[in-house]
């Protein structure tokens, strides 16, 4: 068991009333799962993903990640946890515009205090693995959307996370680029990486093993 959500609820107060963003969510994720979260706009997909990624708080319920109860952890420990085990991929890639491909890949390693030569080796591995060695000195703006997302995935993977959270990873890509990205996710999943993706596309769900449908913050 990689992580487990029990009865998770998240709400905001609006005009004296609780508005639920998430309501009584139960979710088990095993290592090696490839889960797709689906639902219409405003159904709480991204909120759920952020809660899983520990970027966002919740108001009620229990969250266990690798046998640690996240809801009891302090902010600092929680962030250490996600930094160590979780990689993020974003719809709009979120590469740092001022850094080259190579430097973008290197950044998570800098924060994890890897030595210089180790960083170099890991970055070289990633560039190799995603076939972007030739692009290593280019800036994000010089790449196509598909290539940027490739770098985004490589950056998420470089610190060797157990879980990848992808928020509409193909949302800004055309269908061909989207397919390539999904193929890569499939391959990664085959290699044992757990993946949770938020998606609108039925087609993308076919790459995964499970689908969770959300509506108004509840699993349907």
């Amino acid at each position: 068991m990689l992580l487990q959500l029990n009865n998770i609820s998240k709400w905001i107060q609006s005009g004296g009333q609780k508005v639920f963003l998430l309501k009584d969510i139960d979710l088990w994720v095993h290592e090696g799962d490839f889960i797709s979260i689906m639902g219409p706009s405003g159904s709480g997909k991204t909120t759920l993903l952020n809660v899983i990624g520990m970027l966002d708080d919740f108001n009620q319920g229990e969250y266990t990640f690798l046998d640690q109860s996240v809801h009891t952890l302090k902010e600092k420990h929680r962030s250490n946890l996600y930094k160590q085990y979780i990689g993020f991929v974003f719809q709009s890639y979120h590469l740092i515009d001022e850094l080259t491909v190579k430097e973008n890949l290197e950044m998570p390693l800098l924060y994890k205090k890897h030595g210089g030569s180790e960083r170099k080796a890991l970055v070289a591995d990633m560039l190799d693995r995603f076939n972007i060695v030739g692009k290593k000195d280019l800036f994000p703006s010089q790449l196509s959307g598909g290539q940027q997302q490739l770098v985004g995935i490589a950056r998420a993977l470089i610190a060797n996370p157990k879980l990848i959270l992808a928020d509409e990873p193909t949302g800004n890509l055309n269908s061909k680029q989207g397919e390539e990205i999904m193929e890569i996710f499939k391959e990664l999943n085959n290699e044992g990486v757990t993946i949770i993706q938020v998606t609108h596309s039925e087609k993308n769900t076919s790459y995964g093993s499970r689908i969770i449908n959300l509506l108004d913050g509840e699993v349907v």
């Binding site: 515009d97 290197e106 998570p108």
Partner: protein
């Protein structure tokens, strides 16, 4: 990691060129201003530090025994030193300098006669060089032991003797009786350093004047000396000061009795005759005494004003820096979010931003140093100082200060943006939410208001300084000071100058010619007088000898009686008073002023001999000193009055009123001056020809204020530029923030002009607040400054209005670029982002 930060800083800087340039430019100007002022203040505060024993040297000050016992004066009689040597063994040395005024010096070298009017010519005692460390190039301090010997600086030696060795050569100096005295050059000194309160070209041995100094009567009242003491190491200065207070009452009584026929107590009239020991390094910048005979005095008020401005400008530009960096954060929100998600801790982010701002400060500092070096020459000219940057750069202390400065400023101005930027939740920043929830607005507006308050206050102060200067130069001073040419050194011709006068009068260029023994605005001499049959009280009056023509030439107005009349030989023992003198002598009061009341009354000298003079006229008050001061009581003495002690002594001048119908151009004027020069040379070729114009001399009394005005102008403009840079950056930022709002308004039907008004009104509000804050501050400062002057320009309301309008205009011009851009943007572009 650091490398990554630096790389990031560099690439961000390049990407956001506008912000980077604004930031660096503003900060560089601020730092450069601060450094420049720092150099100035440092220079002013370290005068006389080059003397090896500077910490043990003190000047002996005493009350001004002639005029105002409450004022401390830097000059003493010769015997203060003798008494100190006798009674205070704490002094290792006590030495004296004697001021003897300008001297006509002649020398013959290689068959060429050179004559100069030496201004920086003093007499020094033989132990002078045991106290002060002026460097000998040739000769030795022993040179000053013998009478009729002198030392001169290298520059002066060059002037007289060229490249030849001056040692053993002689020069002739005209003494008080007009006899040439021969002095031998026994030493050559390195030129006196710029930062010395003693500035001399020649020093003659004080022993040359031993006769005069031995005269009993003069020992305590010949106050043309400055006395300096070198105390032994470890001296308790407080105890020593207390101890020497007993000296004047013990030693001075024989002098007061002999000269004034008064006991010591009568002479001091209850005022304590104190002796004050002033540390050497404090002399230059001291407020009291504010004057001495031997060189320049600094202006502590300027140092304070400029020190404050330097710090203010630095604060202004640091605020800009913080403001712009914070404003920039929306652009970097995504980066911060990504970094956080990828594992950066808050501390690491803070570190990153502080390092980034330190790099900015470092670059700006470097630019600032270049700026300072480039503008140093101009600044030196305007402020009339000799500041240097490069020699200081080599000194570790100075470098240390710069490094410290960079670190402190970098951390201080980087920390607010750093803490602020690192505070965001990553989820929010990734969504770009931060822009809409920007909370620093109040702070940023507050900072802009602060900046503009200072800038506007400075503008108001600057306007009033200029207004006061214009006011003082346009004041009616009681006579017509324009078009008066004055020739100096007339006393060198001798007392009878009728031949010269006739020559001058024959020239059609002059409508009036008159001789006087003093020239406004520099009539300082005075004496003790009392009114016979009035208040029988001794009062201090200024006095000046003139002939009747001089008063006509000035055009002073007689309110009672008449001018001297050359056809009445008795007139030479008559005097003319000004209105103030009539009041002070007790013949009239402010309320019931009646000028005629004094005609025929008797004024008597109260300095020993009680010679009596009849008053024949009263002139309306006129400013014979700078208009900085109130008009002092004045007695005008006939030029041939031989009963007053200074008969036959002192400087004299011929003044000529130019006839504007003959002297129409500069060329004419130069010709007139050349003619006068020829006339004098025909009478005596050894007389140095010097001339001046009275209106210029009056202007010169405000030279310090003009200088301050100029420097203030520069700094005010700099402060305005910095404030505008900040405003420009803020406007750009706000435009970006509100692009969506403006887009929506436009889609809903707003016109460009309406949007522009909406947008600029936000800044207009800030300026209005600044004006309201700046007005009382400026009023207080201006009011305080104006108390330095006897004649003050009124603090008019319209000046404040002008300053406010200027600030408004500048603001609108500054933000208009952004306003127009934001208002005319196509809403399709701005709304598409969502």
């Amino acid at each position: 990691m650091i490398r990554n930060y630096i790389k990031m800083a560099w690439r961000t800087a390049i990407r956001q060129k506008q912000f980077t340039i604004l930031n660096i430019l503003g900060l560089s100007i601020g730092i450069a201003t601060c450094f420049m002022i720092g150099l100035y203040v440092y220079s002013e505060m370290t005068y006389d530090a080059f003397h090896e024993k500077a910490d043990r040297i003190y000047r002996v000050n005493q009350p001004n025994i002639w005029r105002n016992w409450d004022n401390l004066a830097s000059n003493t009689g010769p015997n203060v030193a003798i008494a100190l040597r006798n009674d205070a063994p704490e002094f290792e040395e006590v030495t004296r300098l004697l001021s003897i005024g300008n001297q006509i010096v002649r020398s013959e070298h290689n068959n060429e006669i050179s004559i100069y009017n030496e201004q920086q010519y003093f007499a020094a005692e033989e132990n002078f060089f045991k106290v002060f460390s002026f460097e000998f190039l040739q000769g030795s301090p022993a040179a000053m032991a013998e009478p009729m010997s002198l030392v001169m600086t290298k520059r002066t030696a060059n002037r007289y003797f060229g490249e030849d060795n001056p040692i053993g050569k002689t020069i002739d100096v005209k003494d008080w009786e007009g006899v040439w005295q021969t002095y031998t050059v026994r030493g050559v000194l390195e030129d006196v350093p710029y930062k010395s309160h003693l500035q001399f070209d020649m020093l003659v041995s004080l022993s040359s004047f031993s006769d005069q100094m031995q005269r009993d009567g003069w020992k305590w009242i010949w106050t043309a000396f400055s006395t300096y003491g070198l105390v032994k190491e470890g001296t308790d200065m407080k105890a020593l000061t207390n101890k020497i207070q007993s000296i004047p009452p013990k030693w001075a009584p024989p002098t007061t009795e002999r000269i004034f026929n008064q006991s010591f107590e009568e002479f001091t009239n209850g005022h304590p005759w104190t002796l004050d020991l002033q540390p050497l390094k404090e002399i230059y910048l001291s407020e009291s005494p504010d004057f001495h005979f031997f060189g320049p005095t600094g202006n502590p008020l300027f140092v304070t004003i400029f020190g404050a401005i330097g710090i203010l400008v630095l604060v202004l530009s640091s605020i800009n820096f913080m403001n712009l960096s914070t404003a920039r954060s929306s652009k970097r929100a995504k980066e911060i979010g990504v970094r956080k998600v990828l594992g950066s801790k808050r501390k690491a982010l803070i570190k990153q931003f502080v390092i980034e701002s330190t790099i900015f400060v470092l670059v700006s500092t470097f630019l600032a140093l270049i700026l300072v070096q480039l503008s140093l020459k101009t600044f030196n000219t305007i402020a009339e100082v000799q500041l240097q940057l490069l020699p200081n750069l080599g000194r570790p202390v100075f470098l240390g200060i710069i490094v410290l400065f960079v670190l402190i400023l970098g951390i201080a101005s980087g920390s607010y943006p750093a803490f602020y930027l690192s505070m965001f939740q990553p989820v929010e920043t990734l969504k770009g939410k931060i822009s809409n929830r920007f909370r620093g607005k109040g702070v940023r507006n507050g900072l802009v208001v602060f900046q503009f308050t200072i800038s506007i206050a400075l503008v108001i102060c600057t306007l009033f300084v200029q207004k006061q200067l214009a006011y003082t130069s346009s004041l009616d001073i009681g006579f017509k000071k324009d078009n008066i040419l004055q020739i100096h050194n007339i006393e060198q011709i001798g007392f009878d100058t009728q031949i010269l006068k006739e020559k001058l009068e024959s020239s059609p260029a002059f409508s009036k010619v008159g001789k006087s023994f003093g020239l406004p605005p520099n009539i300082w001499s005075g004496d003790r007088y009392k009114a016979k049959n009035g208040k029988n009280e001794v009062v201090q009056l200024r006095n000046v000898r003139t002939e009747e023509d001089y008063l006509d030439l000035l055009g002073v107005e007689f309110v009672a009686g008449r001018n001297f009349d050359p056809s009445r030989s008795n007139d030479k023992y008559k005097v003319i008073l000004n209105e103030e003198a009539v009041k002070l002598l007790g013949w009239a009061t402010e309320e019931t002023f009646e000028a005629n009341s004094s005609i025929g009354k008797i004024v008597a000298l109260a300095s020993g001999d009680e010679d009596e003079f009849e008053v024949i006229g009263v002139v309306k008050n006129f400013n014979f000193n700078s208009v900085r001061q109130k008009i002092w009581p004045l007695v005008i003495i006939h030029h041939q009055n031989d009963k007053v002690w200074d008969y036959g002594a002192g400087l004299s001048f011929y003044s000529m009123r130019l006839n504007p119908e003959i002297v129409k151009s500069k060329v004419d004027l130069q010709k007139v001056i050349n003619d006068v020069k020829t006339d004098i040379a025909q009478i005596d070729p050894s007389i140095p020809f010097e001339y001046s114009f009275m209106d210029q001399e009056f202007e010169n009394t405000f030279v310090a204020e003009h200088q301050m005005g100029n420097v203030l102008n520069i700094f005010t403009i700099l402060a305005l530029i910095i404030a505008c840079l900040g405003l420009f950056g803020l406007a750009a930022f706000t435009a970006e923030q509100r692009v969506k709002e403006l887009g929506i308004r436009k889609v809903l039907g707003a016109k460009v002009s309406e949007l522009a008004l909406l947008f600029s009104s936000e800044f207009a509000k800030l300026i209005v607040v600044s004006v309201f804050l700046a007005t009382p501050i400026a009023y207080f400062l201006v009011d305080d400054w104006l108390t330095n002057f006897a004649y003050r320009t009124p603090i008019d309301f319209w000046v404040f209005v002008i300053a406010a309008l200027c600030a408004f205009l500048i603001t609108m011009v500054t933000v208009s670029f952004q306003t127009i851009r934001a208002a005319s943007a196509n809403p399709v572009d701005s709304l598409r982002m969502e």
